[in-house]
């Protein structure tokens, strides 16, 4: 839902225009796409059996089912790397939208309880409805993400001190601890812990084509929605009064944004588990490069989020073969210092 701001509104946005850098945005996008394609190629070619990049190329262009290498690429590596890319893009865009709408620099689907909510719902599904199809699982995952964020914001808004970024993060941590404990209890009781443990920590190794098939339409729709909303999110990021002053129906934008965030986070968690910090790091980096225009922030976050998780997955496989290091842990190694840096700045600037 776009809300036209009119010509008068655009003039008021002079300040914003100065702070956005479209040229840098285009360059960042092109560099990002090239980097993403290269790292996807690299990720497919490296592994237990090394495959040359040329073979990767022919396997994608002229797939012949008789060749083993082509089968490995087609059945295992390609869905895996695409899953990683999608997951990264989803988390990053969800984070960007959350940061823009709430003006909270510490917003991230992991920190604010969405991921653990979705993961909790999935643990419930595994335990009680093991035969549930993947289609219904991801629907429950959306519900779970909504549940998590609803509790966090509920506690935040009941607070005497109001919805400060720090308070929301603290509430998010407690809700994650609670849902994590409940999920773990269910997992231990129903002895599904072994299946769930690795998945909780984050891993895209199990991605199959049918996962991607079912997820793609959701993610595509959410991404289109995000791009349509991006202009309005830019206005909201200037402050709610300004957005209303410019004639924006902020409630419509907010509801739309929330739905998109829930779908993106829920979908991503259903593939990889509760991986945090992607949605925190990537939007901050892209904002640093392309300025404050959310059209560019969202599209660049899409590409760079995908790049980050594809690379993390590649590193996760290379560190300690044949074992795989959970990518959630790897990303936390970057995410925690980054979070500490933001928290130290006082969580004010955005």
């Amino acid at each position: 839902m776009t809300t036209s701001t009119g010509v008068g509104g655009l003039r008021d946005l002079d300040e914003l225009q100065k702070r956005s850098h479209p040229v840098r945005g285009v360059v960042a996008l092109i560099v990002g796409v090239i980097g993403l394609i290269l790292s996807i190629g690299l990720s497919i070619s490296l592994g237990a059996a090394d495959i040359s990049l040329r073979t990767v190329w022919t396997a994608i262009i002229h797939f012949s089912p008789d060749l083993t290498t082509h089968q490995i690429i087609h059945d295992i590596r390609l869905p895996r790397v695409l899953g990683a890319a999608l997951v990264g893009a989803c988390f990053a865009v969800a984070g960007a939208i959350m940061q823009g709408m709430t003006r909270n620099p510490l917003a991230d689907s992991g920190l604010l309880g969405l991921n653990s909510g979705a993961a909790f719902m999935l643990a419930i599904c595994f335990a009680f409805f093991p035969d549930l199809s993947y289609m219904y699982m991801i629907l429950w995952s959306f519900v779970g993400a909504g549940l998590g964020v609803a509790i966090v914001y509920g506690v935040g808004s009941l607070s005497k001190g109001g919805l400060t970024p720090m308070r929301l993060v603290l509430a998010g941590a407690a809700v994650s601890a609670l849902l994590g404990a409940l999920g773990e209890g269910v997992a231990l009781y129903y002895r599904i812990g072994q299946d769930l443990a690795f998945w909780y920590a984050g891993g895209v190794s199990g991605t199959k084509w049918y996962h991607l098939q079912i997820l793609s339409p959701w993610i595509l729709a959410a991404m289109i929605g995000a791009l349509i909303l991006s202009r309005s999110i830019t206005l909201l990021s200037l402050g709610e009064e300004i957005a209303i002053g410019l004639g924006q129906r902020t409630n419509v934008v907010k509801i739309g944004g929330i739905i998109i965030v829930l779908v993106l986070a829920g979908a991503a968690v259903s593939v990889v588990g509760a991986v945090g910090f992607v949605g925190l790091i990537v939007p901050h980096l892209t904002r640093y490069i392309v300025g404050h225009d959310y059209r560019w922030i969202i599209s660049c976050s899409f590409i760079y989020g995908a790049l980050l998780v594809v690379l993390a997955d590649l590193v996760a496989r290379m560190i300690n073969p044949p074992y795989e290091t959970p990518i959630g842990a790897l990303i936390a190694f970057i995410g925690v210092p980054f979070f500490l840096y933001l928290a130290r700045k006082g969580g004010k600037e955005l």
């Binding site: 607070s159 001190g161 603290l170 941590a173 009781y189 842990a329």
Partner: protein, 344 residues
Amino acid sequence: MSNSFLTPTQQKSKKKNYLILGTLTLLIVITFVISMNTGVIKLTPIEVLRTIFGQGDAQQQLILFEFRLPRIVLAVLVGMGLAISGAILQGISKNALADPGILGINAGAGLAVMLYISFFPSTKAVPVYLLPVLAFVGSGITAILIYTLAYRRHEGITPMRLLLTGIAVAAGISSAMIVLTLRLSPENYQFVATWLAGSIWGSNWKFVVSLLPWLLILLPFVYSKSRVLNVLNLGEITAVGLGASIERERRWLLAASVGLAGASVSVSGGIGFVGLIAPHLARQLVGAKHQFLLPTTALLGGLLVLLADTIGRSIFEPSEIPAGIVVAIVGAPYFLYLLARLKE
């Protein structure tokens, strides 16, 4: 302070406080008996009592003295250690939400123990007496790290930033632990996973013996500092006025808190929120004076973990839910409640 200086109302509240301490002890004893009866093999309370006084048969003695009793004793001790650790943290930082689990101190202890297990994988050879020492080193380093990261010139340490830093550091440490667990063999992995979730896994007298000296030294030490804690509670300026050398006292108390948390975690794994809940409940019961607050907190902590362990074992028979998970299910909502009431 002798009784003759007390007004009648103070005398009365003192009486009430002793009553509360007595009631809590009684509750622990009751839970103790229930917990003794919990398990696959049922024993009646009479049989339990008879066995305790040396009248039971060999099998009953084995079950009670070698499996159930050490576990129960350990649960109570761990609960006491964690609860007092939290009470100290809340006292010296004037931060209502402080808890060794939330602040990442438990995670640091856990990491040290895990590093040891992953580099010296033969678990049988682990000298249990070393575990609390290792955990103390780990939790001490973590506490220093968190303090340094949260400290800012001019502002010092605000409660919110301390908590956020602690949570983030804990997140980092637990990722490090996840990476480490993958290096372990499957059986070691299963063991570590249960331990991390906060199970009273050391159903063995050795662990009781390795934890006990820490509590025997540190708990009386902390109790002897009750007056200092009371003064610190009044605020820094008052404390300086009353002549308490704040920084030194604070450092000693912090070290005691870290030691208690580390030693407890080394035998119990990650049990969070005990150090949060117990002091708050105790304050509701007996007020803010540490002479009564500390013993009440210790008893409440012991009761809490023992209850959690008993519930985790009895409701879900024959499988078990670690005590840490049961406590978290109660503790996390309580944290949210306190957070909502906290003013900036």
